[in-house]
Amino acid sequence: MEQYQPPDRTSWLTHDGSDTDVVVTSRVRLARNVAGIPFVSRCVPTDLRGVMELAEQSLLRESIAPGMTWVPLHQLSQLDRQVLVERHLISGQHAKGELPRAVAISNPDESLSVMVNEEDHLRIQIIRPGLALQDAFKRIDAVDDDIESRIDYAYHPQFGYLTACPTNVGTGIRLSVMLHLPGLKLANEIEKVRRAAQAMSLAVRGIYGEGSEASGDMYQISNQTTLGKSEHDLLDQFENQIIPQVIEYERVARRSLLEKRRVFLEDHVYRALGVLRNARLLKADEALALISHVRLGVALGLIEDVPVRTLNELILVSQPGHLQRTIGREMDQAERRIQRASLVRERLAPARPNGA
C-alpha cells in the first residue's frame, strides 16, 4: 500500500502573503485533456493507464517543479486519501474509486498539484497563502506551457480547451480565493457578499468546495465563467474589483464591531479561546467555529500569544483524516472528539513563564 507523508512545511499554511488578515489562500486551477483519448468518464482502463504514463513522464521533471512526488491514489489507503482532500490537494470525487488515478505534488511546499484522471485527464492547481492570484497564475501558466511541450491538449478554436463538462470549457481556468469573514458573519452581512459575487457571475461556497456549508466563517469565491472571458480579464476582475471590495467590507465590519460592540466582540473572542484551551470533547465543526473567533481576535490584536500559523495548522489537524494521521491510528467519532480536544489544548497552551 502506497503512503503519502505530508511535509511539515507547507507553503500555504505559512501566512506570509498580502491581506492575510482576511485572505487565507489563493488558488488557480486549469482543466486540461489529452488530445486523441476520450474524456475520463468514457475511458477504458487501458486509456486511463495511458494517461497515467503520459502524465507521470511529463510531470516528474525538474523543470515542472523540484521534488515532484507521484502518488497513485487507487493504491492509497482511504485515510491517506482523506488527508489529501483535507489539504485541498485532491477533490472528494478524486479520492473515490479504484480506477487508475493519481496526483503529482510538489514537495515539500505542496504549492503545485496535478490531479490525473479526475473529471478531466489533468487538473493543474497552484495554491498560495494570502491574496496572490497574479503570482499563482504566472506560475501555473509556465507549468501549463511546460506540460504542453510534452502533451498535446484537446483544443478547439471556437470552444478553447476542451473539458469533459461544458461548464469548464474555454480557458479551463478556475480562480478561488478562500476568505475568512467572521466580521461580516457576526454583523449578519454575508448576504451582501453573496449578492455582489452573484452580480459578477461568481460562486460563493464553503471551505471544502461545492455544496459544502461555510464552516469556521471560511468562504471561497470562485468564477463560473470560462468561455468568452480571457484569463487576464478574470484575474483583473478578481484582484482589482471583487476581492478588494470584500476585504474592505470585512475590515469595516471588524472595525465597527471593535468600536461599537467591543464587549460583545471581546466576549466572543476570549470565550472561544477559553473553550479551546479547556474543552475535553470537541466536534470538528465546533473546533472550526471557535478557531475562527480566535483568529479574528489575533487579527484585531486582542490576542497576542497565538500565532496565526498555529491556527491554520489547527484547522487542518481538526479534520478527521489529519487527526487520525497525527494520532497514528483509526478512531471512531467519539474517540476523535476526545483526541481533538486534547490536541488543541496542547497546541494552544499559554506560554509559561520561565522555570514553570
Binding site: R49, G50, Y155, L227, G228
Partner: protein, 191 residues
Amino acid sequence: MPKCDMCDNEATVHEVIVRNGQRIERHLCEDHAKEAGVFTSQSFSAAGQVVKKVVMSQSGLAEQAQSSRSSCPDCGLSFAEFRQDGLLGCAKCYQAFADKLVSLLRRAHDGGDHHVGKVPKRAGTCFAKQERLTALRKQLKECVDLEQYEKAASIRDEIAEIESAPAERLHRSDSGEPAPSHRSSEEGEGD
C-alpha cells in the same frame, strides 16, 4: 461483417466520396485503405482496439452529417446520455453536438460562446490550418450544390495542397497504445 471491396478481409474503413455531385462508397480493409491512400482516424478506446471509422474524404460533408447525428461518431455518446450526467465523452463531442451545445454554453458562461484567451502553442497553429480547410470545404460544397464544377475543382486542388503539407508530428499509432495525437490535423476528418 462487411467485406473489403478488394479482398476477403473485414472492411474497417468506409469511405464516401462525392464527385461531381455523385456519391461513391468504398469499403476497404486496413491494408487496402493504406494502399488507396485513404486516411483513417483511429481512437484508443475499447481496450486498445482500433475503432472503426467512417471516413468521408474531400467532400467536406462530414460536418453536416455529424451535426445531424444524435450520437458522437468518435465515442458513441448520445446527446441524451450527455443530458443525464452533464459530461461529454470526448473532444469530438463538441463538434458532433455543436448546435445543441451553443445555447447551453451561453447560459453557463454569461453569454459566452467563443473562446477568448490562451491558445496552446502547437494545437493553435494546427487549428489555423484547420480553420482554413473548414472554410474551403464549405465553399466546395456550395460550388457542388450550384454545379460550378470548375471552381469546385480548383478549391479541391487547394484543399489537397494544404492537406499534403507535411504534418508536424506523427498522428497515428497502430500499436493501439494511447499515444496522444492531434485529431484535428488528421486529414479527411472534416472537423
